[in-house]
Symmetry: C2
Subunit: 307 residues, 2 copies
């Protein structure tokens, strides 16, 4: 029951020799969600062993190059690998004309459809929903239309305790009734209570992704209680003014959101190339929120099953 984030890129606008532009993979029960797709994303996916064909949904925060330039290569490679399944890209409306050009110039051989699901609105909205996971978009505060994404594992069906199956010699039909949420009345008058015989296999886990954004008050509410928060921290407090001017955050800003929203853990990334020593980010963030960590290419953060 995987719920695991892998960071593929931690750079901001200017990549460095070791820092790739933004890209992350969230694995929820072996379904891979790609979040942002900076240049070199396809090579990072290979490096960390992800199958391109397991990616059916890509979530793009905004159309600045360091979040999308990897799409050209990735979509072309998917085609060369014989993809036929539809590919869904969640992105603001500003992405439409870019995708049109990409398909026009490079998509002649594509045997699959690329479907742009437009993300919009001033409030959080559910944009994706399956049996096991839902995704909620929420607007961020950047220089261009920009959205964060909140991935939530769904509340699972309750399971019947194994030892009670034996104790009560439950039939398959009785197990199905209990799993469906109903008590069982046996012919002999015996009542098997749903509440007593079943349990929740795990408590839903969650991940929220916030890049790029200047601080704004509603954000803490929108990611309240999240298990893992990714929040950009392009700058340190020594460049607070530049952060404000460019609608970005500092490590302190990110940690403040984590603290005030009741997040369990914070991971920061999108580092400006001007900083060589990333431990300064961690230091600044940990002063506000002790469960702060810096992202690194290839880092894997698992949120363990909670019972």
């Amino acid at each position: 029951m995987n719920f695991t984030l892998t960071t593929l890129g931690t750079a901001s606008a200017l990549p460095t020799v070791n820092r790739y532009p933004s890209a992350h993979v969230l694995n929820v029960h072996e379904r891979l969600f790609l979040i942002d797709c900076g240049e070199g994303c396809q090579m990072q996916l290979r490096r960390y062993g992800f199958s391109f064909l397991k990616i059916n949904e890509i979530f793009i925060t905004h159309v600045h190059g360091d979040h999308i330039f990897g799409l050209y290569g990735l979509l072309s490679t998917m085609s060369l690998l014989g993809r036929s399944a539809d590919l869904y890209i969640y992105a603001p409306d500003t992405f439409s004309s870019i995708l049109e050009s990409l398909i026009l110039h490079f998509g002649a051989q594509f045997k699959y459809q690329v479907i742009h699901k437009v993300v919009s609105g001033n409030l959080p909205q559910k944009i994706f929903d399956t049996k096991s996971v839902e995704v909620i978009s929420f607007p961020l505060n950047h220089r261009t239309s920009c959205y964060g994404y909140y991935f939530k594992e769904k509340q699972p069906l309750r399971n019947v305790h194994k030892f009670l199956i034996e104790k009560y010699n439950l039939s398959l039909r009785e197990i199905a009734i209990l799993k469906g949420g109903t008590d069982v009345l046996r012919e002999n008058g015996e009542v098997l209570l749903y509440d007593e015989l079943t349990y929740t296999p795990y408590i839903p886990r969650s991940f929220a992704y916030c890049s790029d954004t200047a601080p704004f008050p509603q954000l803490e509410e929108w990611v309240r209680g999240v298990d893992l928060l990714y929040h950009e921290a392009t700058f340190l407090e020594d460049n607070k003014k530049t952060a404000q001017l460019t609608y970005h955050s500092t490590a302190k800003n990110a940690a403040t959101v984590a603290k005030n929203s009741g997040a369990k853990r914070l991971i920061i990334g999108h580092f400006s190339s001007r900083y060589k020593d990333l431990s300064l980010y961690e230091k600044e963030a940990k002063e506000i929120f002790s469960e702060s960590y810096i992202a690194k290419e290839g880092i894997v953060i698992e949120i363990p099953v909670k019972k």
Copy 2:
């Protein structure tokens, strides 16, 4: 007096963990020419220590993604680094609409002009000319309009031998006259002969770049006598049929061009991701042409000054 090729990428359509798509830098007397610009090119330029601002000319062979997807990031980064100098991109006419889209979607902040110099024609043509170097384009035989580039150091002005400056106590004016190609007649009737007092400082060096192409007879003539020939070798002979179908070459094809054109050295690249062991390429090529070498990310090939 540099004349040095650095390979940034050796992959063909599908990059691997260690093989970047096509990109190369030719340094001619500290002037940097970028040849092809596959995804990740800007990171490779950084990795191998090239200043982005020293690049004023980019030569694109054709508009397949593995040769141009790096332009999105590179041009954006040049802008972020404050570039104001014009940038010239030599490429077939098929590149025009791609560049237009790139500028439309990502060039709003560019403070520099990107000028597309259209490469065309069925015969070699001089497309670039300075005091020290000229570039000749020539058509290749690929699935889309595709051109190779032949870089030739120009014949330098002759220098005056230092020991003769002392011997004849030459004035600056006399040196200038001799360098200009004329004999000097002194007032005392003494004649200083241009042919005797001057020498050629170096013999011009040359590099030709051929990617992507199926073999065709004229190519050997068009790169005749080149010091260093880069020729794609996407396949080995075991995939000769696929090479033919996709208008590519095998290592044997590349080596045959090198041999028949009288090239001094051959470097092959653009390797299909299906081959893990690149020494097989070298083996196949060396059987035809002993001075064959395989390209590798970061490999630097200097053509030493010839006197």
